[in-house]
């Protein structure tokens, strides 16, 4: 893969990786199920933006579709668990 990255790209990727690790830390630590769900939700949003950025780096327009799916559907998984917690499902 002939991927040419400039310094800003590398910095951005590094920052997003650190953000993902922080989210995952909360996922591991989170004392309650809700904390973990929230961490997973934040990870989903972060990953969606990471996918858009990687799509730009690979220069493939169609890769935006996957990020679109995460943006549109990502919240339904959270609502499922939220409804379960409030006794709704």
């Amino acid at each position: 893969m002939g991927l040419s990255l400039n310094i800003i790209d590398i910095i951005v990727l590094a920052i997003i990786s650190v953000a993902l690790i922080l989210d995952f830390y909360r996922f591991v630590r989170g004392p309650l199920a809700s904390d973990r769900v929230m961490a997973a939700d934040t990870m989903t949003v972060t990953t969606a933006s990471l996918l858009v950025f990687l799509g730009y780096l690979f220069d493939r327009y169609i890769y935006l579709d996957i990020a679109l799916i995460y943006a549109v559907l990502g919240f339904i998984g959270v609502i499922v668990i939220a409804r379960y917690l409030e006794g709704g499902v």
Binding site: Y63, I66, L73, I76
Partner: protein, 247 residues
């Protein structure tokens, strides 16, 4: 001790797998088999399909896909047959799906976002031959949209008769397109339409038609399954409560 042994064993297995896979030059031309090269060459050239995976799934191995769709249909039917009696009890016992209503924000969001989710699903399966995705993925997205409605509104249920009709019609369309292939050409699911220009919406012959049928079928099946299992989850509670009160 047991744990230690299992961890050591797992690490050994992981190491061996690493050794094996490290030797394989993934992603280079050496591993591409004859079949793979054939697909890569012929799918844009003969069929004018931008998404090679689609052309393999629907055209070169279309019969396989028909089998998969049938498996999904069987699974949904089997689930329905197991849970049917429970459903009957459910409709008799309770007028509401759940005890706690969703918050009004979620309900209003359901009104606005549901059509947009369905539109995205339609986009994914209609553009299956141009962009990633296809019938199955589009159907799953539409079913997720219905899941959102089922979660947000506790009175909302899906009309199972309509679902059955959509499902059957989509299945018949798929098989019918295949049969037309027999009559026009030689084989089942042979392409009988013009292939169009690469990267146009009207291209790839029968692929978009089949994907639309598959999309409808998968969406209908999954929606039916979701509605069934969500009703069941209430039914168990309700029947338990009922027996407690009566007994």
């Amino acid at each position: 001790m047991k744990k230690l042994i299992s961890i050591v064993f797992l690490l050994y297995v992981a190491y061996q797998l690493f050794v094996v896979f490290y030797a394989v030059p993934f992603g280079t031309d050496e591993v591409r088999s004859k079949v793979g090269r054939f697909y890569l060459e012929h799918s844009p050239k003969d069929l004018h399909v931008a998404n090679t995976v689609t052309s393999i799934v629907v055209n070169f191995r279309g019969f396989d896909t028909l089998g998969e769709v049938t498996v999904l249909f069987l699974a949904s039917t089997a689930l329905g047959s197991i849970l049917f009696r429970r459903r009957e009890v459910h409709t008799r016992l309770s007028h509401l799906r759940t005890s706690v209503e969703a918050s009004s924000i979620v309900r209003v969001a359901g009104r606005i976002l549901f059509p947009l989710i369905v539109l995205l699903g339609a986009y994914v399966f209609i553009h299956g031959h141009l962009t990633p995705g296809g019938g199955f993925q589009g159907g799953v997205i539409i079913a997720t949209g219905f899941l959102f409605l089922l979660l947000a509104y506790r009175q909302f249920t899906v009309e199972h008769r309509t679902i059955m009709w959509i499902e059957s019609l989509a299945g018949i369309t798929f098989a019918g397109i295949g049969l037309v292939g027999i009559f026009v050409g030689k084989t089942f699911l042979e392409n009988f339409l013009g292939v169009g220009r690469l990267n146009d919406l009207i291209s790839g012959g029968i692929i978009p038609l089949i994907y639309i049928a598959v999309g409808f079928k998968v969406a209908a099946e999954l929606t039916g399954i979701l509605d069934t299992i969500l009703s069941i989850s209430i039914t168990v509670d309700e029947t338990e409560n009922q027996t407690e009160k009566n007994g």
